[in-house]
């Protein structure tokens, strides 16, 4: 028996001589032993992911570090929390006491709710500001760009622009105040427009256009400004102005060295697809375009 134990141990350690191996193979037990050793590998421990284990540890250590700082740190933490919250409360109060400013980038629009629940949709490349603190006394906003206003009933609601002011009591109207054009369109109620020392009262569907130092009054039966439908509709504008309008919705530059920008364009373009929009402008005018990066080269065909 001792003999056998030594033999098996030697076998396990690969220390048997060829002769010993030969005789060991003839024993009854050999095949049982060999099969047990061979099958042992089926009991192999499940895969261990060293990397994720270390990651888990690093995470645990970090959060432990944070948690185990002593009370001084907790106190400091509490104080700074109070300061931070205080700062934001202060900032919020301060900001609302001063000027609320909204800016939209190219091809971006924003929906703004005013303190009296009036709503403003700010079109692309535009800015709007108002003083919330004084809102109850005077509903005054200043606009640079284009916006649609849905005004709750109340005291006077004024939109001030570089061209003049638009004043209402409660209504829906769109103001467009761009470098090349000023337009006010009234969709509901009535609007008073102060421009060049003249006053105009717009009723529903009235539209005022100030262009080339001239005011014209038009009728418009749409219930929503064109830009809310992601389209610009242009009537008899010179191409330069059209391209300026275009740049509110697409972040591109135009190379106009080869064309005449004073030609007049009437038509519309979409705000959602650059190539379709460019075709809408160039095809009627007999122009062609080439896009190179952010620059659009315009040329005569």
């Amino acid at each position: 028996m001792i003999m056998k134990e030594e033999l098996v141990k030697k076998w396990l350690n690969n220390e048997l001589t060829a002769e010993e191996m030969e005789s060991f193979k003839k024993t009854n037990e050999y095949h049982s032993y060999a099969k047990i050793l061979e099958r042992a590998k089926y009991f192999k421990a499940p895969e261990f992911d060293e990397k994720s284990s270390l990651e888990g540890l690093n995470f645990a250590i970090k959060s432990r570090k944070k948690a185990s700082k002593n009370t001084i740190y907790q106190l400091i933490g509490a104080i700074s929390a109070v300061l931070i919250i205080g700062f934001f409360v202060y900032k919020y109060v301060f900001v609302s006491a001063s000027v609320n400013q909204f800016n939209t980038g190219i091809a971006k629009t924003e929906q703004i709710e005013l303190p009296d629940y009036s709503e403003v949709s700010l079109n692309a490349n535009s800015s709007l500001s108002f003083k919330a603190q004084q809102w109850d006394d005077e509903r005054l906003l200043s606009l640079n760009g284009e916006a649609l206003f849905e005004v709750e009933k109340g005291n006077k609601f004024k939109v001030s622009t570089d061209y003049g002011t638009v004043e209402v009591l409660g209504t829906v109207f769109n103001v467009k105040s761009r470098d090349y054009i000023f337009e006010v369109q009234c969709f509901e109620g009535s609007v008073k427009v102060d421009i060049n020392k003249d006053q105009y009262i717009l009723k529903q569907n009235d539209k005022l256009v100030f262009y080339n130092d001239q005011v014209s009054l038009l009728q418009n039966n749409t219930s929503i400004p064109d830009w809310k439908n992601n389209i610009s509709i242009i009537k008899s504008q010179n191409l330069g102005n059209v391209l300026d309008e275009f740049k509110n919705y697409y972040d591109v530059k135009f190379d106009i060295s080869q064309i005449d920008t004073n030609q007049i364009y009437t038509g519309s373009f979409s705000h959602q697809n650059l190539e379709i929009a460019l075709n809408s402008i160039t095809l009627p005018l007999g122009l062609s375009y080439k896009i190179d990066g952010e620059t659009v080269f315009l040329s005569n065909k």
């Binding site: 396990l12 049982s32 421990a45 284990s53």
Partner: protein
């Protein structure tokens, strides 16, 4: 500032700690698994041991880290299971080659054999089971197993042999 208690060559350095993890985490995991089975979540036990090492890193030198890890892992599970049988899972598919799959009788016999093997393994004492499996499955040298279990190399050799002999007797129904 005096740092009398802190050992100079300790494990607090993040890179040292990561290296220790790389060297020992897998072995630690396998050891815990073979000893206590899957039920006691070897992966968690590995993390617990390394967390303990991190907490005490100032007082543990790098060359003592390994034995510290194994004894912590060992102790953390000791209380939980005293008399519970450890049943290790096995995977049969490693054995399959195409001929075997086509022979249902062979498959049947193989299944029965592995079931007996599993039962026999669970009847081994944990010291024997750990020594046997670390050696035959993980290919650990007697010396390494001796370190892990804190026993002599002769004792390791003896355990592996008695484990094998006991397995044979039970599986063959002697």
């Amino acid at each position: 500032m005096k740092k009398e208690t802190a050992i100079k060559d300790n494990c607090c350095e993040e890179s040292v700690f990561a290296k220790l993890h790389r060297l020992h985490a897998r072995d630690l995991h396998d050891f815990i698994y073979y000893k206590f089975g899957e039920e006691h979540n070897p992966k968690d036990k590995v993390q617990v041991a390394f967390m303990k090492l991190w907490e005490n890193c100032k007082n543990i030198s790098v060359d003592k880290a390994k034995s510290f890890l194994f004894s912590v892992a060992n102790n953390s599970t000791l209380n939980v299971i005293k008399h519970k049988k450890v049943v290790l899972k096995y995977e049969l598919k490693a054995n399959k080659n195409d001929n075997d799959i086509e022979d249902p009788q062979f498959l049947m016999e193989e299944k029965e054999y592995m079931a007996r093997y599993q039962k026999a393994l669970s009847h081994l004492t944990e010291e024997k089971r750990v020594a046997f499996l670390l050696n035959r499955v993980e290919g650990k040298k007697h010396k390494e197993i001796a370190e892990i279990l804190g026993i002599s190399r002769k004792a390791v050799e003896k355990r592996i042999y008695t484990a094998l002999d006991q397995l044979r007797k039970e599986i063959d129904g002697i």
